[in-house]
């Protein structure tokens, strides 16, 4: 009964969305205020209906109602509650429901939001309905894919979708602006908080996904340039460009057509990301739902949403005129450089992701594009961006003084040189690119600190006066510093990866292996049986000299019914260095493969991402968004 109610609510939501996508436009054409105001009521009704739909499916998962096919396929009564709940979005149908739920949650009382809702609700009801019943009712569910039973992954999809879907608001505003033919500072003030919030969620989502692959996949990598990862990285990169370019629109009333295009493209890439994962166009470890029929539907959806908005753009964008003029060396100029580099970087990721598929589509050989391609294209684009980040943030609007800024950055130069030399000395002339990377991260930190010091007039005014200025400083400025600092942390974590040490040893229980000054003693292996899987649990005592550092328990789990093995790596971190041990396959003679790594600074990669997202949140709490809120309400 509850399930039928949910199903019914979903169908009803479709009709409300249909009304929302048509009536306000009719109202606008006839200048009928009642019809124009309908969008608000419709958005609210959609939210309520989707809360009912989501609640109904959630209830089915929580009480393990195996008369629902979706629950049978993705849950089991023995699962912990967290994975019962996460089971809902671990699969295609449920995650699409989460998608429209988030869409309703972020609201956006615009006709365009209604249209997006129509597209996705139709998609769910026609090709991916989570409310279908299973007959006869099986006694037990098939369980959740063991690889996905993980707290990191339980929260990864909701954050990712919050990011993807949040960008739909920027998209809708962009389309509305093209229809009205007006983009101004007020428009930028509506778009920016939405893009910023979406960007924060996407940052957290990507970081969670990356951390998950680091500790579950068992070979110590954290980013694989896998098409599905790239699908989430591309909207993130363009979203980053968008939150920067909308500052220019807001403050300087220029770069309008470009910012509108970025808003359209960022959401388009979110849609394409969904399409790539869901359609069967590409294969990947994560593409857990593939079905060409769905692919055709999503392709139609893409053609309507992206094709339609870009057609509108081609017609209307030439009439958007920018106001403010600026010199190449200026804050605007720096942000143009930022946008240029980020867009090119996004382009290289797109090419790298699609080229193998493209070759395959035209009947060429099967190839895969991996690290070498991205290292040679993506990284060279990122380096100038990161180098310019510090000085760019210190340039004045309209016309900046680059030599002056560089002079004021002497402390950052000094810090970078110190860190570079220190790293060079500490690693006995280790990999030069890694040393330079660390120096770059230090340069960025120096830039952030120098910019803050300048704003606070630190050491020029008495400390009390600086403190006063710090309290006066807008939250947005603190947010920027924090986000840039987070990026520096991430860069340091990535740059330090060549310093890692790796040992792959084939040892029997009782044997030892050496890793960068540590002795790993494989003391025992215990096999345990649980109701649905076998656990091989290794005990490894880590010593440095005669001192015991840690006892670690990497595991291997075999799920016989699902024909799957998973690896539970053991990770020990002190914030600076991670010790990472994964248990591999046994060989014919009874020896086990052990992969052990010592990874300096690796945890900073994700810590940096969290700091970046925190920067975004701080910036969102800025006073000017709260002041602008009432105006936005009126317009909506």
């Amino acid at each position: 009964m509850i399930v039928e109610l949910g199903h019914f609510a979903l169908v009803l939501a479709l009709f409300v969305a249909l009304a929302q996508s048509v009536l306000p436009l009719v109202g606008a054409a006839r200048e009928h205020a009642g019809l124009m105001g309908f969008a608000r009521a419709a958005a609210l009704a959609q939210l309520l209906l989707l809360v009912v739909a989501m609640g109904a499916l959630m209830e089915a998962y929580v009480v393990s109602d195996f008369s629902v096919l979706n629950v049978v396929q993705n849950s089991a009564s023995t699962k912990p509650l967290l994975y019962k709940v996460a089971g809902l979005w671990s699969n295609h149908e449920g995650s699409m429901l989460l998608w429209v739920f988030v869409l309703a949650l972020v609201g956006g009382a615009l006709a365009v939001q209604g249209m997006i809702g129509v597209g996705f609700l139709l998609f769910i009801l026609l090709t991916s309905n989570p409310f279908l019943r299973a007959l006869p009712v099986p006694p037990e569910g098939r369980g959740l894919n063991p690889v996905l039973q993980d707290p990191g992954l339980a929260f990864h999809p909701p954050f990712l979708y919050l990011g993807y879907v949040g960008f739909s608001v920027a998209f809708s505003f962009a389309v509305a602006a093209l229809i009205e033919g007006r983009v101004d500072a007020a428009w930028a003030r509506w778009v920016r908080p939405w893009s910023l919030a979406s960007w924060c969620a996407l940052t957290v989502g990507i970081a969670l996904g990356s951390y998950w692959s680091y500790y579950t996949l068992g070979w110590g990598g954290w980013w694989f340039w896998d098409p599905v990862e790239n699908a989430s990285l591309m909207p993130w990169i363009l979203g980053t460009a968008l939150i920067h370019s909308s500052i220019v629109v807001e403050k300087r009333d220029t770069m309008k057509a470009w910012t509108v295009l970025l808003a359209i493209l960022t959401f388009s890439l979110s849609l394409i990301g969904t399409f790539l994962v869901r359609s069967g166009v590409l294969s990947s470890v994560h593409a857990f739902a593939t079905d060409p029929r769905r692919g055709v539907f999503i392709l139609g959806l893409l053609a309507a949403a992206i094709g339609g908005s870009l057609t509108l753009y081609a017609l209307r964008a030439p009439s958007l005129r920018g106001g403010g003029l600026f010199a190449p060396v200026s804050r605007e100029g720096a942000l143009v450089l930022n946008n240029l580099l980020l867009s090119c970087a996004c382009g290289t990721v797109l090419v790298g992701t699609l080229y193998p598929l493209f070759l395959d589509a035209v009947g060429g050989p099967k190839i895969s594009v991996g690290f070498p391609f991205f290292n040679e294209t993506f990284v060279p684009l990122m380096v100038p961006l990161l180098v310019a980040l510090g000085p760019g943030a210190m340039l004045a609007w309209k016309r900046g003084d680059l030599p002056g800024v560089l002079q004021r950055l002497w402390a950052a130069f000094a810090l970078a040189a110190l860190v570079g030399l220190g790293a060079f000395w500490a690693t006995h002339g280790g990999p030069i690119l890694a040393v330079l990377g660390l120096a770059l991260a230090a340069w960025m930190v120096g830039g952030v600190l120098a910019e803050l010091a300048e704003r606070l007039r630190l050491f020029r005014l008495p400390l009390a006066a600086s403190w006063g200025r710090a309290r006066q400083l807008p939250r947005a400025a603190w947010g920027m510093s924090l986000a840039h600092f987070g990026l520096a942390l991430t860069v340091a974590g990535i740059a330090a990866s060549p310093f890692e040490h790796e040992t792959i040893a084939l040892i029997r229980p009782g044997g030892t292996a050496e890793l960068a000054g540590y002795t790993l003693e494989f003391t025992s292996l215990v096999r345990r049986q649980t109701p649905d899987h076998l656990i091989d649990d290794a005990t490894i005592v880590v010593r440095r000299g005669n001192e015991q550092v840690a006892v670690m328990h990497p595991q291997r789990r075999l799920f016989p019914q699902l024909q799957q093995t998973t690896s539970e790596t053991a990770i020990r971190t002190n914030g600076l260095v991670d010790l990472y041990i994964a248990l591999g396959d046994p060989d014919p003679s009874g020896a086990w493969t052990l992969r052990a790594y010592e990874k300096p600074l690796v945890s900073w990669i994700w810590l940096g991402a969290l700091v970046m997202a925190a920067g975004g949140v701080v910036s969102l709490s800025d006073r000017r968004w709260r002041v602008g809120l009432s105006a936005r309400r009126r317009r909506a």
């Binding site: 166009v281 590409l282 294969s283 392709l299 094709g307 958007l320 699609l354 075999l558 014919p588």
Partner: protein, 187 residues
Amino acid sequence: MKRWLALLPLAAFCGLALYFALSLRPGHDPEVLPSAMIDKPMPDFALPALEGEGTLASAGLRGRVTVVNFFASWCVPCRVEHPMLMTLAREKGVAIIGIAYKDAPAAARKLLADAGDPYAATGQDREGRVAIDFGVYGVPETYVIDRAGRIRRRYVGPLTPETVARDLLPLLHQLGGPEAASGGAAP
């Protein structure tokens, strides 16, 4: 802003959409890992049989449809695959040739004694030479050989019920049916 410049994003998207449409054409499965050996003659081999003194030779497999399965007693996914092979051999009458990859003969024999023997004949590839000739990535791996002795299909990893139902059985049927495969004495 130039008009044609504003058209550029739309044009780029049209290209992309066209290409996506191409990728969605029916019968296109990006997950199939092709083998360089597909449609090439099966490599020649002559391996000592796992049981007894005989020899398992590629020449003896000509003229019938054969499924060649590389396995090992130390390989966990092979254990997972084993019941499927038993079903294929017992219920579907498929002739499966087993090749024990880098395995101690005693261990392999014990596996077949304990879990059942789905193989019509089993050879020992102790050095893994034959596996290299076939282009085996890792065990288990399964090949379908037609009557002319050509490799027609390769399955990497354990055979799943879906693969068997959707691909393997229809293929065997098309090549001459499991009956012909188990007939053994076809010309």
